[in-house]
Amino acid sequence: MMDKQLFVKSNKIERLTFLFDILAIVSYITLFLFLFNKLELPEIINGRMDLDNLQFMLPSYDVLWMTWDKFQMNSIIAMIILFALVAVPMFAINYKKLKTRTIYEVDSYVAASKFTQAIINFFSFNPVSAGLRIYNMFVLVEFVKGYKPKEFFKSIIPAIKSKFKDLTTKKQAEDTSHLDEYSLSIKKSIRRQNVTYVVRLLFTYLFLVLMALLIVIPFYWMILTSLKDFTGATTTNPEFFISFSRMNWVNYKVVLTELNFGLYIRNTVIIALFSTAGTIITTIFAAYAFARIEFKGRELLFSILIMTMMIPGELYIITNFITVSKNGFGWVGMPTGENQYFLAMIIPFVTSISYIFFLRQNFKQIPESLYKAARVDGCSDFKYLMRVMVPIASPTIFTITILNIFSSWNAYIWPRIITGVGGQEGKNYWLISNALRDTAFVQDNGRVMYNLQIAASALVTVPLLIVFFTFRKYIMNGIGRSGTKG
C-alpha cells in the first residue's frame, strides 16, 4: 500500500515538474525570438544590402541592464537554442513515459534518470525543475529500495565498493589437464567461434559507422558553415568547429528577411498544405470507388490508370503549361495582377494515381464482413467510408500525407516554369527550391556569400528534420511499407 502511494506521489510531482518544464521551454522560445529580433542587420546602401559589412559589424546590444557585444549575443543565442533542443525532446519523452508507465516498470534506472535530468535542468537555468526532480528521485528511491534518503546516501559507498570488487575479481583459471582431446578441441573451437563473432561484429559496426559518417557529414558541414561569417566560409583552410561566440546567427536573419526566404517558405507551406488536403480528399474517394463500389468497367478503368503511371512527368508538363497559360485557363502569362500562380501550382497535382493505387490496396484489405455488418445496421456508403474505412486505413493516409509534403517541399521545375513567365511578379511566388537556386547570393564584386547560401539551405532543411524526428517511427514504417507493396 505504501508503495502505491509513493508511486502516485511520484507521478504527481512529475506532473508539477512538467508545468515548470513547459514554462522553461516557453521562456526559452520567447527569449530567443526577442534576441533574434534584436539582431542588427547590415545597412542597405542603394537598395542593396551591404553584406560585406555583415562581417565586420560590431554592434552592441542593450538588453535590460546589460550591454552585450556581438560575440556575447551569439553565445547567448547558441545556449538558448541548445537548451531548447534538449528540453523539448526530454519533455516529450517524459510525458509519454508518464502516460504509459505502470507501477511495475519503476526501477532504479528510473530514479537514476531523474537525477541526470535534474542536472540537465540545473544547467539549463531551470532550478525549480531541478529541485523537484531531485525530490522525486528520493521518493522513487524510497519506492524502489524501501529506505529513506539518509540511508540511501549511506548505502552508496558500500554499493560502489561491491561493484568494484566484482569487476576486479579474476576468474579462476580452469584446470584443463584432465580433459581429453575431444573436449579440448571443442573448447578451442568455441573460443575461435567467439573470436570470429566479435571480429565480425566489429567490422559490421565499423562499416555502419563509416557509412553513417558519410551521411551525416554534409549535414554537419551545412549547419557549421551557415554559422560562419564570410571569411570563415571562404577561407582555404576552413575550421571544423567554431565556438559559441563565433556563431553568426544574424546570417539566418539576413536570409529570412532581406533575401526574402520567409516569403518563399510561406509560399511552399501554402502549396504543401493545399495540395495535400486536395490529394487526401480525391484519393480517399477515388480509392473507395475502386475498392468497394461495384460498377461496370471498374477493372478496365483502373488498368488504364495504372498504365498512365509509366509515362514520364515531363510529357504532362508540356501540355499543362499550355493549359494553365492564356491559351487555357489563363492562370499565368497574363498581365501583372491577373495571374493566379497558386492555382497553377496546386491544382494540377491534386491527384496522383500512385496514391490511389496505394490506398486502394489498403482498403481492399479491410474485411468485407465489416461492410455487410454496417449495411445491415443501415449505414450509408459515405458514413461507412468516413467512420470505418478511413480510421482503419489512417496509417496509409498518413504516409500519403508525408510523401506529398516531401514532394511539395522538393518541387522545382513546375514552379520555375510557372513563375518564369511572370517576370518580376513571378518572383514573389517562388518556392524554396527556386529561391535557393536562383537567388544570387552574390555581391557586386562577384563574390558568392557562401555562408548565406548555406544558411538558406539549412533554413529550408531544419524544419523538415524537426518534423521527421517527431514522427520518425510513423514515417519510416510508412515508407518501408509503401515500398514493399510494390
Binding site: 474485411p367 464482413s369 465489416l370 455487410k372 455488418a373 454496417a374 449495411r375 445491415v376 445496421d377 443501415g378 449505414c379 470505418v388 480510421p391 482503419i392
Partner: protein, 352 residues
C-alpha cells in the same frame, strides 16, 4: 414474430453460364420466439438462406415474410434484423461501447436512451465491464458477445447468427452455446442460426432444419428428428458416433441379417438400406450372436465392432456389461429403433 419462407430459391450463374442451385424451393414457417438451427454439410445452402433472410442476397424465386409483411424486395436495413457474422465483424478501431451504439446512430433514438440500451444489452450478454476496451483486447468469447449485443441493441424482429461457434475453442463452445440459448430465452426473439455441427444444433435449438444441396430434408424438434429421421441423409447426419448403415433384404415380412431371421417388419419384400444407431444395442442373453472383431473402451462406454451383412457395425454399450475376455456377444435392439430406408428415395419406410 413469425418468419415464413415460401418456396425460396437461389440460383447462381457463374461467368461461363453454368448454373448452381444453392437453395431449392425452401418452404418453412418459423414460429415466433423459437430458436431454429439451419443445419447441413458445407455448401448445402444454409448461409445463403441466412443471407437471403437478411437481405444481403437477392433470391431468384420465392418469398420471405416477416409476420404478415412481404420483405422479399426490402433492403436489409429496413427489415429490422440483427446479424452476427462468423468472424464477428467488429470495428477494430472503435471501443466496445462505440461498436454497440453504432446501429443506433441511424435510428431515431435520443442519446440518453441509446446509452441506456447499450448498457442494458451489455449487461445482458455479460460484458458490462468491458465497454471501454477495443476488440483486439478481448478474447474470442467476449468478442462474440459484443457482436451479439450489437445485433440486439436495435431491438430487431429477427436475430440471425452465421456459424456463431465455429471460431471458438471446444470448451468455450460449450459455454457460449448455453449463453446464446439463455439470451434468446430472456429476450424471446425469433432466432435463426447456421451451423454444420449437429451436436451444437441439437443441444440448443427448439427446432432444426436440415438442408442438403439446398433442399430441405426435415424440419422438426431435435430429439424428434433424431429418433424419427425422415430419410437416410438425416439419419446419417445426426448422431455421434454415426449411425450404422448397411444393406439387407426383407423376405416374407422378416428382416434377414447374416442369413438369419432378425425381426418382424411390416413392409413389402425387397432390398433396403438399414440403419441402426450404436447406442441402441443392448447386451442381452437371448439376442442374436455376433462375433466380436474389436473392443474399444472409452471411459463410461465400450464400443464393440462386429459384422452384419458384410459390413463393420459399431455398438456402444455399457462398460459393465462386457469385458475383454468375450469373443462373441449377444445383442438385441428394439424394433422401433431399426430404421429401414427405401433404396431409391432414401425415405424411411417403417416410421411415422
Amino acid at each position: 414474430m413469425e418468419l415464413r419462407l415460401e418456396n425460396l430459391t437461389k440460383i447462381f450463374t457463374n461467368k461461363t453460364g453454368a448454373e448452381t442451385t444453392a437453395v431449392d424451393k425452401l418452404d418453412i414457417t418459423i414460429e415466433s420466439g423459437t430458436l431454429v438451427g439451419l443445419l447441413g454439410p458445407s455448401g448445402c445452402g444454409k448461409s445463403t438462406t441466412l443471407f437471403m433472410i437478411a437481405g444481403l442476397v437477392k433470391p431468384t424465386g420465392g418469398k420471405i415474410f416477416f409476420g404478415d409483411d412481404d420483405v422479399t424486395k426490402l433492403a436489409p436495413e429496413k427489415r429490422g434484423i440483427g446479424l452476427v457474422f462468423q468472424n464477428y465483424a467488429l470495428y477494430p478501431h472503435m471501443t466496445v461501447f462505440k461498436n454497440i451504439i453504432f446501429p443506433l446512430e441511424n435510428l431515431d433514438v435520443p442519446r440518453d436512451e441509446a446509452i441506456e440500451r447499450v448498457k442494458e444489452m451489455a449487461n445482458l450478454v455479460g460484458i458490462g465491464e468491458l465497454l471501454d476496451r477495443k476488440p483486439s483486447q478481448l478474447s474470442g468469447g467476449q468478442q462474440q458477445r459484443v457482436a451479439i449485443a450489437r445485433a440486439l441493441v436495435k431491438k430487431p424482429r429477427v436475430l440471425l447468427l452465421d456459424e456463431p461457434l465455429s471460431n471458438l475453442d471446444a470448451r468455450l463452445r460449450l459455454q457460449m452455446r448455453e449463453e446464446i440459448k439463455r439470451i434468446q430465452r430472456e429476450i424471446g426473439i425469433t432466432t435463426i442460426f447456421v451451423t454444420h455441427d449437429q451436436e451444437e444444433a441439437m443441444s440448443i435449438s427448439d427446432k432444426m432444419v436440415v438442408l442438403d444441396f439446398g433442399k430441405e430434408q426435415q424440419y422438426d424438434a431435435p430429439q424428434v428428428m433424431y429418433n424419427n429421421p425422415t430419410n437416410l441423409f438425416v439419419a446419417k447426419f445426426l448422431g455421434n458416433p454415426p449411425i450404422n448403415t448397411f444393406e439387407a433384404e426383407v423376405k416374407k415380412g422378416y428382416l434377414i441379417l447374416n442369413d438369419q431371421k432378425f425381426a418382424k417388419v411390416d413392409i413389402t419384400d425387397g432390398l433396403y438400406d438399414i440403419g441402426m444407431r450404436p447406442e441402441n444395442f443392448r447386451v442381452k442373453e437371448d439376442g442374436f450372436k455376433a462375433k466380436i472383431n474389436e473392443i474399444f473402451h472409452i471411459g463410461r462406454d465400450t464400443m464393440i465392432h462386429f459384422e452384419l451383412n458384410g459390413k463393420n457395425i459399431r455398438a456402444l454399450v455399457d462398460s459393465d456389461s462386457i469385458d475383454d475376455s468375450n469373443e462373441s456377444v449377444s445383442l438385441t435392439i428394439k424394433n422401433e429403433r431399426i430404421y429401414i430406408f427405401d433404396k431409391e428415395t432414401g425415405q424411411v419406410v417403417n416410421h411415422g
